[in-house]
Amino acid sequence: MTVQSATQRTDVVLGLGQMRVTNEAETTLVCLGLGSCVAVCAYDPIAKVAGMAHVVLPASSNGAEAHPKFADAAIPIIIEQMQELGALKVRMVVKIAGGAQMVGNNSTIGVMNIGDRNVEAVTDAVRQHGLKLQAADTGGNHGRTARFLVGSGTVLVSQAGGASHEL
């Protein structure tokens, strides 16, 4: 006879511009259907504290309040909130997914090359704040879903109609 585990995984889905920091081992942080957006997944493997942000734009414009929808603001906010739960900056590793160019590079409207610029801005911010970028699945012209398992720090990435792979 097998004994079923009593614990249940809980999905926490982050909409555009939302972020969450948690140490609840059974929680999975999720960004569904990322196009040009980037899922930032930061983890302290010893404290088992995870932080995820669904970044939409590269940088806050002049005077805009610091908000995790911006890559340059998301990284310091995640670091601070993770530290409050006992994570140490020296141990934090970051994995990212997303940043696709859904309509190619010839769009005439406001946000040119937004996917590439998001990835660049996230990568720069991660480096600037002294964190390690451990893995990335970015670019291309297809969407992605990212699942971040808090207990293990595992990040699973999938495409439309495709199987997921570990980042």
Partner: protein, 198 residues
């Protein structure tokens, strides 16, 4: 927006949608019916839910609006529904199309052209503005990924999106689709300004 502005915006969207559906009906030789119609103000963070889930696979036909101001037009379909429209457009029996090749994508692009330009022509006629559609992009992907294109632009300047949505179906065949128009704050303002100018 105040009540008068909402009424004016609703009237414009109504004219645009009717013109789009009439021209689509003529194009396919069938009376395409509007089954629902709505104007919404929703947080941009929730726009990825417009198709019922951000990771739902969808076929999107996307056009940008330019001219007097910028905006976005997106037609979205469940893939099987899009294949149904391809069959309708190409005069084929239902169930013929099972994937999008170059020909099928081009047919859907034409569908986007007809609906986008008809919608914008009606708005331009009513307001005297210049509103031009871009060439259509036909894409198959997760709905949220497709809607990111619009969300990223809107979120640069505002936290809420004004979404005009219409669903429609072809009565002879079991196919339906969704038509979204999402103006930038600037386009909405330019449109509303024509009301006071008139």
């Amino acid at each position: 927006m105040n009540d008068q502005e909402i009424a004016f915006w609703a009237e414009l969207v109504n004219k645009g949608t009717n013109n789009a559906m009439n021209n689509l009906s003529q194009m396919v030789g069938q009376d395409i019916q509007v089954t629902s119609f709505g104007l919404r103000q929703i947080p941009v963070a929730e726009t990825s839910q417009l198709m019922g889930g951000a990771d739902v696979e969808a076929i999107g036909i996307y056009l940008t609006v330019s001219g007097s101001a910028d905006g976005h037009i997106m037609l979205m379909y469940d893939p099987r529904m899009a294949y149904g429209f391809v069959d309708l457009l190409m005069g084929q029996p239902e169930g013929t199309t099972e994937a999008l090749g170059e020909m099928e994508s081009s047919a859907l692009g034409e569908l986007g052209n007809i609906m986008g330009s008809s919608f914008l022509n009606a708005l331009a006629d009513a307001t005297g503005l210049t509103l031009m559609p871009s060439p259509p992009h036909v894409m198959t992907d997760m709905a949220g990924a497709l809607l990111d294109i619009i969300a990223a632009d809107i979120l640069q300047t505002q936290d809420d999106a004004f979404v005009a949505e219409a669903t429609y179906q072809a009565p002879g065949r079991n196919i339906s689709g969704m038509f979204f128009v999402i103006p930038t704050q600037n386009l909405l303002q330019v449109l509303l300004d024509t009301r006071t100018a008139a």
